[in-house]
Amino acid sequence: MLDISGISYDNIFNRYDIVAEKEVTPEELFEEMAPKEEPWRTITQKLVFLEEVTDEVEEALNEYDPEDVINKGLIPGMDINGELYARGIYYLPQLIIAGDAMGKGIELCEEAMREAGQERKAKGKVLMHVAEGDPHDIGKDIAAAMLKAQGYEVIDMGRDVPVEDVVDAVKKENPDVLTGTALMTTTQTAFPRVAKRLQEEGLDVAFIGAGGAVNQSFVHSFPMGIFADEAADGPSICEAVKEGKTWEEIREEYDEIVPSAA
């Protein structure tokens, strides 16, 4: 091997990420953003520091409404995690692990609500699937975790979901947003078929198209399609829907709404 010891690597590549490394710590952000009152503070703390919250949630449910436990304890915790993620302090695993913990907490709360004959008023309802014929679902799983972390109710249909099943589920669940993921260009052809069938059934819903081979020009070529390049685009698009924007408007204002747009 050539003697590589004398190489000045600055002339070859630069570690722009290390140069740009952020300063804030989870502790600092927790102090800054966490609720002051208990039991919310502790629930938040558990989530931010990636621990289980099941015990704390169970206890809180003895005193408080499940809706409050979710909105004042679990969601603020994930908001901080979301901020840590946005700032590149937390990465995906932290979000997913905290999301797992939050998910268990949400389950307990929803169970409590069912027993009380109530229904959870989530931030919104998102119906997710992986295109017919496509077995790749890690992208959907990551996006689902991010949406749940933001307080959305996610109905996950899994992978290789037939077009008609998607249409039936839209009818049944009446989601605020439908998402479809496809890793292969040849399974993405299911999406326009879904859109067509939805139209035929008189349904209209923002339909996020995402995944490896999917691109903007394809997704914006069928009705209702909104392109999401990265999992982190999902929440912003759903937010826009919650604000009352139609899919047509979201396409119009795409560059302003979607974080990954150049």
Binding site: M1, L2, I4, I7, Y9, I12, F13, R15, Y16, D17, I18, E21, Y85, G88, I89, Y91, L92, P93, I96, I97, D100, G133, D134, P135, H136, D137, I138, D141, I142, A145, R159, D160, M184, T185, T186, T187, Q188, T189, G212, F218
Partner: protein
């Protein structure tokens, strides 16, 4: 079948592009000899969405793809041109209608025509899609809904019987555990899924592929851990991406080498698949030829070893580009050209006796660009291979050994100030090392632990692996 317990090379320094210990010859005209002294070019172009709507449409698309690749190769004087086809989903679902004539036979005929008319060495490779889904069942007789295992094997037969020169696949055994592990930074889950379960699945799969290939006198090439290690690499991305630490993805790469090499242990000969970045590791162990991709696959994905990936390659590839028009003609010609000139650069270096110099320039360009690249640098890849063959009789232990070795290499380089790591990369690596060192020595114990820990994952079914 025996596992590798020895290295094919005495020294990493022996390794270079264009040469393998066990060259493989196939194709039309003068034929391509992978690892036989020169590098060859691989161009892979994906039919446009919609082309698969009808077999005749797909046949037209493949005709255009094939001819435009070969025309660009001939007009620029390239001695070799291999065309690889990653089958689209519909072809795997219905290989008789959508693959047999439209893709396989027609392409072989055109490849033969060009070889005849011009004397260019051509070959066609078919990469069968792994349609199998764990919830339905990964082995024959388990999937009574879609019959995917049967379809996959059936597709290999159809490819082998209708003109394919080389058979490959990007098999997905263990993917359900790998995905779980990648999302949670759980290296144990990844090790279980890919190092262990994936290897078992590779046995099942490749013993059959090798049989089919031998029966039809075609080449059983190899596999790649695209569904798992590449997923980790893609999500880890570059310096602007902050989803997965590249120290984590580096370790997944080391782990997956143990799975990828099972194909060769089952009798496959290489060349293995282009997107198997673990190629240098398995080549160091087995001495079989490997196809690689890097800067010329920028159209399909970015990576942090665009030059380094070429260091010891036998074939060079563009990974995949959609068939569409560019300013110079079709994208097929664009990438045949870019790849072919890189191949020419390597072969010229060989003629000048400067191949190892070029190898080292390739390697040094990206050695420290990312821990992922660092461990694939051929000297490090070799060391990982050594750690693996020492545990050569156990899928689990050799994958773990690879992981630990990779981690040590990264740590050492970082301590010596050569390899820069961000704070997060360091923290992640520390956790990975802690997790690895906490694992049992014994394979059975490891499997038992994992079945306990991960047995309830919705997509995981031990029956898929004969457990």
């Amino acid at each position: 079948m025996a596992k590798y317990t020895e290295m094919a090379y005495d020294d990493a320094e022996e390794m270079v592009f264009g040469e393998a210990k066990e060259p493989v010859t196939y194709g039309h005209g003068p034929q391509i000899t992978a690892g036989g002294g020169q590098v060859f070019g691989v161009t892979k172009i994906a039919p446009r969405p919609g082309a698969e709507a009808r077999p005749e449409k797909l046949k037209t698309e493949f005709r255009k793809i094939t001819k435009t690749i070969l025309q660009r190769a001939v007009t620029l004087g390239f001695p070799t041109q291999e065309i690889e086809n990653e089958w689209v989903h519909q072809m795997g679902e219905n290989p008789v209608e959508y693959a047999q004539e439209p893709a396989i036979a027609q392409q072989a005929a055109i490849a033969e025509e060009f070889a005849d008319e011009y004397g260019i060495a051509t070959a066609t490779t078919h990469t069968i899609p792994d349609l199998r889904v764990s919830e339905k069942g990964l082995r024959h007789g388990q999937d009574r809904e879609s019959y995917y295992p049967e379809k996959v094997i059936g597709s290999f037969e159809i490819a082998a019987e209708n003109g394919a020169d080389v058979l490959k696949i990007e098999s997905s055994g263990g993917m359900e555990l790998a995905d779980y592990g990648i999302q949670r930074g759980d290296i144990k889950a990844f090790l279980f899924g890919i190092g262990y379960l994936g290897s078992i699945d590779m046995e099942w799969l490749w013993s059959q592929i090798v049989d089919i290939a031998q029966k039809n006198n075609v080449i059983p090439g190899g596999d790649t851990n695209c569904p798992a290690a590449n997923t980790a690499m893609f999500i880890a991305g570059g310096y602007l991406d902050q989803d997965i630490a590249r120290t984590f993805s580096a370790i997944t790469r080391a782990i997956c080498a143990g799975r990828t090499i099972v194909a060769w242990e089952q009798g496959a000969t290489g060349p293995d698949k282009d997107c198997g970045y673990e190629g240098p590791i398995v080549k160091a162990i087995a001495g079989k030829p490997t196809v690689m991709e890097g800067k010329d696959c920028s159209v399909a994905h970015a990576d942090l070893m665009g030059n380094l990936a070429a260091q010891v390659c036998d074939g060079w590839s563009n990974e995949s580009a959609e068939f569409h028009e560019e300013f110079s003609g079709w994208s097929s010609g664009t990438w045949a050209e870019a790849v072919g000139y890189e191949v020419s650069l390597m072969n010229t270096a060989k003629e000048l006796g400067e191949d190892k110099t070029l190898r080292d320039i390739y390697m040094a360009s990206d050695r420290y660009r990312s821990p992922e690249s660092y461990i694939i640098a051929y000297d490090n890849a070799y060391k990982i291979g050594e750690a693996m063959v020492e545990e050569g009789d156990s899928y689990y232990r050799r994958s773990k050994a690879a992981a630990i070795k990779a981690a040590e290499l990264i740590e050492d380089a970082q301590e010596q100030g050569k390899l820069q790591l961000s704070a997060h990369e360091k923290d992640t690596l520390e956790k990975v090392v802690t997790d690895l060192r906490a694992l049992p020595e014994d394979e059975d114990k490891f499997v038992e632990e994992c079945l306990n820990e991960y047995g309830d994952l919705p997509k995981f079914n031990p029956k898929n692996y004969g457990l």
